[in-house]
Symmetry: C2
């Protein structure tokens, strides 16, 4: 038996564990799941003979080192900042490592050691980052192999609620970490390139500079810009590309409504509210509006944000019960962002039968034999249920598939890496098709960055 150690048995580990358990007899795998809660892991194992749950606190050096030493390959599903302890042990004990997180500077610094020991340290192999890298590089490499020159790359991803479970005016529920959703876009201007010109969008305008995406069979979506599109120039080797843009997908109307919270200042995470525990939802809203001895919070907000009588945005606020004077935030030393998250979680938490949905969309513009061409590709994946969500499948399956292929020496690219080389992404994407995770491609007219198809 080959021993695989999985550290962290959170919501994103379900499909990953299921895949490895299903293969465990044939592939002679024994899976150890280390987590702060044994019960968490046991629920996922369901008494499978080829697996066990152990208590593992990543900050307990003895526990961690013992577990890693006894394995052949380690998968860390912890938050990114905890990987480095695990990675150092993997170097020491000569174990392969797989994570779904962005490569940190500390992780990158282990590249030479990992190479010298013949170890694969595969990172960024979940959904985003992960499937985005692999599916983009597959098309880009194909275009280049034909002699094409890349002109445009736009890429969009969103974690959404499936249409059959969409029962609110925002067409959104939290299918992933709610805090990340509340803080999305903060920390600096979004930067990207369109037709060779640098463009910058400050946070407070981000949700009003969205673009539409129409996906055949799935309708219309919108996307707002991610902060860091420019780093993909070096990652994907797109040095002189004219247009490079990455964005986050939402259903139409979400961003304009979300902008209300941004404008009011409710997404601020930099200060705490006095006596936030006892603050009512209504008084939370009123904090961001001018004082008046007479006027209602409702009218002050309508005036402040210029919301007309018949604007659907108003219904979105009312649906959240944000003007309720009896409901309390109930969190000590809450920042505005934490208070807003509390209010949203009342309404946007996934219900028992809700299904989530992942949408990814790429546009590749290129020049080949003097002709300008474009390929669009997209992937839409729905969750099976609350355990095998679309998020768990799209994050966990590439991790699991990569882990097994590393163990089987089908992937032998040593060192600290992300999945952008053909030898890595080709076999992984191929196998993911068996699980319904695949892209639909179509050739279309190249217009450059020109979403309204304006004649030049």
């Amino acid at each position: 038996m080959r021993n695989i150690l999985i550290i962290g048995a959170g919501r994103s580990a379900t499909s990953l564990i299921q895949y490895l358990l299903d293969k465990s007899d044939k592939e002679e795998l024994f899976i150890t799941i280390g987590d702060l809660s044994i019960q968490n892991s046991q629920k996922l194992i369901k008494e499978h003979p080829n697996a066990r749950a152990i208590l593992l606190d990543v900050f307990n050096d003895i526990q961690r080192r013992q577990a890693i030493e006894g394995s052949d390959l380690v998968i860390s599903m912890l938050p990114a900042r905890y990987h480095i302890e695990v990675a150092n042990d993997c170097i020491e004990f000569c174990k392969h490592l797989v994570t779904a997180s962005y490569i940190s500077e500390e992780m990158a610094a282990l590249n030479h050691k990992a190479k010298a020991k013949g170890l694969v340290f595969m990172n960024e192999i979940g959904l985003d980052p992960g499937i985005d890298h692999m599916s983009a590089m597959q098309v880009i490499d194909r275009i280049r192999a034909k002699g094409g020159k890349m002109l445009l790359f736009e890429s969009f991803t969103g974690g959404l609620i499936a249409p059959e479970s969409d029962d609110n005016l925002w067409h959104y529920k939290f299918t992933w970490n709610p805090r990340n959703v509340v803080l999305a876009g903060q920390g600096g201007a979004a930067e990207f390139i369109q037709e060779g010109t640098y463009k910058y969008i400050p946070y407070h305008r981000l949700f009003r500079r969205t673009e539409f995406l129409d996906i055949e069979g799935h309708g219309r979506f919108e996307a707002y810009a991610n902060r860091n599109s420019l780093k993909y120039r070096s990652v994907y080797g797109l040095k002189d590309i004219l247009t490079l843009y990455r964005g986050t997908i939402r259903r139409v109307g979400f961003s304009k409504a979300w902008n209300m919270f941004v404008q009011l200042g409710m997404t601020d995470d930099s200060y705490t509210i006095p006596d936030s525990e006892n603050l009512s939802y209504r008084n939370f809203v009123n904090m961001f509006l001018p004082y008046s001895p007479t006027d209602s919070v409702e009218l002050k907000l309508r005036h402040n944000l210029k919301i007309d009588q018949d604007d659907l945005m108003w219904g979105k606020l009312v649906e959240l019960d944000i003007f309720n004077a009896d409901k309390k935030i109930g969190i000590k030393n809450a920042t505005p962002a934490m208070a807003l998250q509390k209010i949203l979680m009342d309404k946007w938490t996934l219900q028992k039968d809700d299904k989530d949905m992942i949408v990814m969309y790429h546009k590749f513009g290129y020049e080949l034999d003097g002709e300008k061409k474009q390929i669009d590709s997209h992937m839409v994946i729905k969750g099976d249920n609350q355990v095998h969500t679309a998020m768990a499948k799209t994050v966990g399956l590439p991790v699991a598939i990569a882990a097994l292929k590393i163990l089987n020496e089908e992937i032998t690219t040593y060192g600290v890496q992300l999945p952008i080389s053909k030898a890595v992404y080709e076999p992984i994407l191929k196998e993911m098709e068996n699980y319904g995770i695949e892209f639909v491609e179509r050739a279309t007219t190249y217009l450059g960055y020109n979403p309204d198809n304006v004649a030049g």
Copy 2:
């Protein structure tokens, strides 16, 4: 002769030095001015027999310590972050110290040592901080002495262009550090209290939440909120006050127009622009607007900020020549804020005969013998010329007056302090009247925080 050492001979030191030179025969003062440029100091001394200029680099320990040791009192007009070296030497050599800067934590930590040695370390004794503290505490102490209870304190200050030199649509020129003006309001939400409720304004809304101030004989002004009003609760002993608000004064219309830059993202100082040196003003503007193969920068900006055809805001932009495709930013690695500052300095730099103007306005609401009352007070000071500006007079004179009174032992409050005790502010405010720096007070109806006088 008593030796006064002034470190830093910048624009704010002119009236300070003049005051001390004028008093030097009668008071037996010898003034040493230490600066990185001897010429700067010589221009201010004009061969006065009771003064000399020396080269002083505050980071040169030998120069600095020698100069401080030879003095009886030190005035530091350096930027706040450089005071601490000077302050440590003053403790060692037993010298009084005067600065116009906010008390840093390091400075505050010297309190016990200063007290033990019988030294006055007077800080925050310029305009703002300085005259604001003294003029506010004088009225607050008077109200309290009568048995009154403070209900409301609002305080506003602005450095403006005098009406006779006001020749642009913004009614503004740089009379002080332009960088501070461009970055004003950044770094977190403005927080204050109105009628017992905490209020927060995020940066991107700050310049649209202004209030008007009418000052008799001077017309209408507007004010936007400062970030840190709440700290004045402890500084002025206003613990349970219902309304506490501090703001910055501008001429009407400035803030709404300035908000255009904020909305576009032009005041961002957190990233640098690629090849900023060769960027034209026009392309700088275009960075913050969506790409279009056909539309002009002008129309994109009008659309983006919803500026009507006949809106005066447009004229304000045109006046700045911000759409010029030939003028270059000309600064390497410029942030957007640095680029914007460059564009504004073309138009907003004080001309030879321009005069500046300082406006300060306080509102004091209180309850006395069961009756609610209000006192408003204001000060308007114009500069004499480009040397003795209103800013130089209002910053420099309180510093100079305090320094002489400390030397003459009229002020003997030892320790690290700001001028909020009666023994300090009373004699200083009294003498400033001789220089035309005084407040006009009037009693008015108390309405609470209720700028539109709405009936409850």
